[in-house]
């Protein structure tokens, strides 16, 4: 086994053994791996099956059901944009469109250079501050960027996302 895959195995095992929930299940184990690695590599499906005494089919069934799991490493930056009804009414569609355009994507997914992963969110839970966008774990809203008018916000957020893409803000 290569050093790389050994390292991966150790990380997965560490997440399963040390970072798992109080009640260990297939789902809790997959979530622990995702928290550790940001995705579920094929190796983790096998190890979770072993660890929870389930079948690969069971584990794969759970992993493919919940939409938070991904199976390839995420891009350097993860951008989540809410398309929920509140944000929709407050201009989310414009933010989605200009972000897709600036990233050269036609739908959610990863940019070719793997710099950015774009994900649509059904609701980020900050509807009262909508429209909101989540960039690398930080929530961005009109208030947080000091603008309250709708269309300026669209440009500003898209601008921030392209800054992220260009590595200006980390």
């Amino acid at each position: 086994m290569s050093a790389l895959s050994e390292d991966l195995r150790d990380k997965i095992t560490d997440a399963l053994v040390n970072k798992n929930a109080k009640t260990v299940t297939v789902l809790s184990s997959l979530l622990a791996v995702e928290d550790e690695l940001g995705y579920i590599p094929p190796r983790a499906i096998e190890l979770v099956a072993l660890y929870t005494k389930s079948t690969i089919n069971d584990v794969w069934g759970v992993a493919s059901f919940y939409t938070n799991f991904r199976f390839t490493p995420p891009g350097e930056h993860v951008v989540e944009i809410c398309w929920g009804p509140t944000c929709h009414l407050l201009g989310a569609r414009g933010i989605l469109k200009s972000t897709l355009d600036s990233l050269g994507l036609s739908e959610e997914g990863d940019t070719a250079d793997k710099k950015v992963s774009l994900k649509y969110s059904t609701c980020l839970g900050a509807c009262s501050q909508g429209p909101v966008v989540h960039v690398d774990g930080k929530m961005i809203s009109p208030q947080s960027i000091g603008r309250t008018d709708g269309s300026a916000l669209v440009d500003k957020i898209s601008g921030m996302i392209s800054d992220v893409e260009n590595g200006k803000s980390q």
Binding site: Y66, G125, Q143
Partner: protein, 581 residues
């Protein structure tokens, strides 16, 4: 372990020191609304500014006081001065705020939102007089924005765990059930079933291991009150759950939250840990015979995981797909054991009901719908936020007095209530009381309390399409009326929005919708027709325009529809899975 009296003494002492103002006490909203508005940066800026000037202050991150439109809110108590709330504080304003108020005792009026307390402040309104505070009666939200949710002593100092102490030392479990029954409390998760009655089912089930599940899946877009309570006052939920356990003879409580919402998850976990440390959870709670254990269980992203039997599957670590009933949860729930499931808001009322009595609670609200409603108001309004108002108040009062007008002179067009399975309600029909039955009769359910306001720029057909896009995306796929029906509905609605509808599309939607309502396994499919039906009821002419005249009066339907791919597993196609076993 300390006795309750010892805990209370310590708590009161600490709280006295904090709130006397000798060292200024600065509270900053750090629920998700605060975070989104930039509260982290404001906290850092305040700490840096204090350090720079060599000033002392106690900074407490608090939850959401409900005035989300004014976040980040900085709330300052200092000796000899009134308590003042400052609104929309930005990092740039921090030096001025510290300089004027903390150093020079001058209130920068343009930044002040309100004052609270005895002595008034010229040119600044009192908290009680704010439009958003009008009508509010705070029961479950009594501590929201008041206390540091990570400090159990602040909760105890404000009356926390007194209800638990009272129940354990002076009440029989059956009296606790009776108190909840007398209160008239009905579930706040959607179905509005009597909580006392639900609990009594579990009482009769055999032990020793029985579960209380606290449902904080909260996948409804536009609703953030369950997460809001966990972020602002997790102990009220924990105490409510322990009381439910005592009343029903349950042994275990599980708080069920969606992965990724760190605020509610971390604060619920901290609350549980602190309770174990102080003997409020675990074996022999407060020295009594009663033992109860609690943990947090996380779920992945799935809306249907909030449905009670799907939630049990998810707690067991499986795909969140609903089960057949019977057996009912009280007989065979999670892990095949007797289970009771309640919404976070429902359980959060319980401590106050036990402290003040069921009758006290039943005096709030109206005949069929007792107590208060915890609402999230958002969309095209002046004051989005989270409020707690007595049942029976009208939606019109809420929109006009509390929420305020749509910005830019636009007019309210419709409300979307009860989440994506709820409906839309035309602005002309909102003079109805907040009451489970009256709302359902009008075609819009109260559901989990999300109210989204849309003004005249919004298209009713486009909103319907968006809601069904959500329902289709979230269908778990277990039963075909919903799995295929939702797909049919979204295909037709997209055709209508692209002005490509076929003549019999409305009839087709109706037939699909009725079949879904009658034949689906769970509420998701059964209620999925609601949003379309209610939009057709209030805005038939807009459907007609899209279908016959091929126009959208608002211009929203311009062909651009950005919604997720229609499959539950969106990343799978990226790489085929190579397994080596």
């Amino acid at each position: 372990m300390p006795s309750f009296e010892e805990l209370l003494n310590t708590a009161q002492q600490k709280y006295q020191e904090l709130s006397s103002g000798d060292t200024p006490w600065i509270r900053i909203g750090t629920a998700v609304c605060g975070h989104a508005a930039g509260s982290d940066d404001v906290i850092n800026a305040i700490s840096a500014e204090l350090e720079k000037r060599g000033l002392q202050a106690n900074i407490s991150p608090v939850g959401c006081i409900g005035l989300c439109y004014a976040e980040p809110i900085v709330d300052i108590v200092k000796a000899g001065q009134p308590r003042v709330f400052f609104k929309n504080v930005s990092v740039d304003q921090v030096p001025e705020l510290v300089d004027s108020y903390l150093v020079n005792n001058q209130i920068p009026r343009e930044m002040a939102l309100a004052y609270s307390g005895e002595s008034s402040v010229d040119g600044v309104p009192s908290l009680d007089s704010l439009p958003m505070w009008k009508h509010q009666v705070r029961v479950a939200m009594r501590n929201c924005g008041e206390i540091d949710p990570t400090d159990i002593y602040q909760y105890i100092a404000r009356g926390g765990y007194a209800a638990l102490n009272k129940a354990i030392s002076r009440m029989d479990p059956s009296e606790v059930v009776k108190e909840v029954q007398d209160s008239g409390l009905r579930g706040r998760g959607g179905a509005a079933f009597s909580t006392g009655t639900k609990w009594s089912f579990l009482v009769g089930s055999p032990g020793p291991t029985k579960y209380i599940l606290c449902n904080c899946e909260e996948g409804d877009p536009g609703a953030y009150n369950d997460k809001g309570i966990l972020e602002s006052d997790p102990h009220t939920l924990v105490e409510g759950t322990i009381l439910a356990g005592y009343a029903t003879g349950a042994s275990n409580g599980v708080v069920f939250i969606r992965h990724g919402h760190e605020g509610p998850i971390d604060r619920a976990q901290k609350a549980i840990d602190d309770c174990y440390e102080l003997g409020l959870l675990g074996d022999n709670i407060l020295g009594s015979e009663f033992s109860f254990h609690m943990e947090v269980s996380l779920t992945g992203e799935s809306y249907v995981a909030g449905e009670e039997t799907a939630l049990m599957e998810s707690v067991e670590g499986k795909r969140a797909m609903p089960r057949f009933r019977p057996p009912f949860p009280a007989q065979s729930g999670v892990w095949g054991l007797p289970t009771n499931i309640n919404n976070i808001k429902t359980l959060s009322y319980v401590p106050e009901i036990i402290s003040k009595g069921g009758e006290w609670f039943s005096n709030i609200g109206i005949e069929r719908s007792k107590g208060t409603a915890i609402l999230c108001i958002s969309g095209n309004i002046t004051r989005p936020g989270m409020i707690e108002v007595p049942m029976g108040i009208t939606l019109k009062e809420i929109m006009e007095d509390v929420a305020g007008d749509a910005p830019g002179g636009h007019k309210l067009k419709f409300l979307q209530t009860g989440g994506p399975l709820g409906g839309v309600l035309s602005a002309s029909e909102i003079d109805i009381p907040l009451d489970f039955e009256a709302m359902a009769q009008a075609g819009a359910i109260l559901g989990s309390g999300g109210i989204i306001a849309a003004d005249d720029r919004a298209c009713a057909v486009d909103m319907t399409r968006l809601l069904i896009a959500f329902c289709q995306y979230e269908s778990c796929g277990k039963c075909f009326p919903c799995r295929l029906g939702m797909t049919n509905l979204i295909e037709i609605l997209e055709r209508i929005c692209k002005f490509e509808s076929r003549p019999d599309d409305l009839a087709l939607m109706r037939s699909v919708g009725q079949n879904m309502a009658g034949a689906s396994l769970c509420g998701h499919g059964q209620l999925g027709w609601n949003p379309v039906q209610s939009a057709l009821k209030f805005f038939p002419e807009e459907f007609e325009e899209h279908m016959e005249q091929k126009i959208c009066r608002t211009g929203q339907c311009d062909g651009l529809m950005i919604t997720p791919q229609r499959t539950r597993s969106r990343w799978t196609s990226a790489q085929p899975l190579e397994l080596r076993i």
